[in-house]
């Protein structure tokens, strides 16, 4: 019993660090770079992606025995694209400013490799419960990276965090951080830092 419980928590926790989709597997980098010019955009994108990941995992896990093996990728994509349309319409209806900020990156969730990757590697082979745990873990890991990177860029690029001023008048914002080069630089540093921490942990 105890053994099983540990492995269930693991199913969720692995997405946060050990198999973090962005920092470890380097998946879904396009949205990570594109929408993290502020923490709030990062959070919105993370939630939208997690919603799509979770809902399509549920459906795919339920119908996994019905889908013929040869056409599984095409079926996955149709299911994913349907939920992306739902998420896109929802954002446009209830949060128009965020929807406008994210622009075509919401529909681009369709080709986010994290989602297709999890369906192919996990949900199409595992039970509903485990698929839910796995995809919510991956989603949480994705949201965390987006908020951290968005916050990092927002703090240095505009001196605010979630719109609140954190660095006072004395701070001259580094414009470059909220422009494209800042995204590459921030992610590069994050990936390097992750590798460094892992190397340090392995040694300790």
């Amino acid at each position: 019993m105890a053994d099983k419980k540990v492995s269930i928590t693991r199913e969720y926790l692995k997405g946060l660090w050990d198999e973090n989709p962005v920092l470890r597997s380097l998946l879904g980098l396009c949205p990570v770079l594109a929408v993290t010019n502020s923490a709030i955009n990062g959070l919105a994108m993370g939630l939208a992606t997690t919603f799509v990941l979770l809902t399509s995992s549920i459906i795919i896990s339920l119908v996994r025995k019905v889908i013929p093996h040869q056409v599984r990728i095409a079926s996955f994509i149709v299911i994913i694209a349907t939920f992306v349309t739902v998420a896109d319409r929802f954002l446009a209806a209830y949060f128009p400013p965020i929807s406008k900020d994210l622009g075509p990156y919401v529909p681009l969730i369709v080709v986010n490799c994290i989602i297709l990757g999890r369906q192919e590697a996990f949900s199409s082979r595992n039970s509903l419960g485990r698929s839910i745990l796995d995809s919510s873990g991956m989603g949480t890991g994705f949201i965390l990276v987006l908020i951290l990177l968005g916050g990092f860029r927002e703090i240095f690029g505009s001196g605010t965090f979630f719109g609140m001023t954190v660095l006072g008048e004395w701070f001259d914002p580094w414009m470059v951080m909220i422009l494209p080069p800042g995204a590459f630089l921030g992610l590069g540093l994050f990936i390097g830092l992750t590798n460094w921490i892992n190397a340090w942990r392995a040694k300790a």
Binding site: L26, P107, L108, V111, P181, G192
Partner: protein, 192 residues
């Protein structure tokens, strides 16, 4: 004149990789050698041009008249996935040398978000048929340019002493930051 502006804008000013962050996966994955980077760039340009034309036709001749714009994403991604397969078969039939040159890069393109991004941007900006076509070619040229420069730099990096934690993806991102900074020099050149 407008067509030239669209081309330059898509190729350098708003480079797909360095300012829209589309197609990052192949940009990081296939930029170790100049020769494979050029092949990947060619394959992407090829599919982008065809995808721009076909998605324009689907959107304006089928989805809009039937007021089914809500199906935009589902139909675009299906069309692109099948298009890549079709192009692969077609190229193998008509030009064996080209097929060999593109090799495994053709099927990889389905998962390249730059293609879907291109189709979405073309709809968003209300491009006419010829404009979409030029936009596709320009975006492809921009992608080829960026990935080739990156491969050139990474070939030199092999000889450099990079901190252990930053080897691979980390340093590639930081080099990309420098490249993006350089490409920002084009900003304000034209606005489309």
């Amino acid at each position: 004149m407008k067509l030239i502006l669209i081309f330059i804008s898509a190729a350098v000013v708003n480079n797909f990789v360095l300012s829209y962050f589309l197609g990052i996966c192949p940009f990081v994955g296939v930029s170790k050698k100049i020769s494979s980077a050029v092949s990947m760039g060619m394959a992407v340009t090829f599919v982008m041009t065809i995808a721009a034309v076909v998605t324009w036709l689907i959107y304006h001749l089928i989805l809009v008249p039937a007021s089914l714009e809500i199906l935009e994403y589902v139909s675009f991604i299906l069309v692109i996935a099948s298009l890549v397969q079709l192009v692969e078969m077609f190229v193998r039939k008509i030009s064996k040398p080209l097929y060999d040159a593109l090799g495994i890069y053709l099927p990889l393109i389905t998962t390249n978000c730059a293609i879907l991004g291109l189709a979405l941007f073309a709809v968003l900006r209300d491009y006419a048929f010829i404009e979409s076509l030029v936009f596709g070619v320009g975006a492809g040229a921009g992608f080829t340019l960026a990935i080739t420069i990156m491969a050139g730099i990474r070939e030199q990096l092999e000889l450099a002493k990079v901190p252990k934690s930053f080897e691979g993806a980390g340093i590639t991102m930081i080099v990309a930051a420098a490249l993006a900074l350089a490409f920002m020099g084009f900003a304000g050149l034209i606005s489309v």
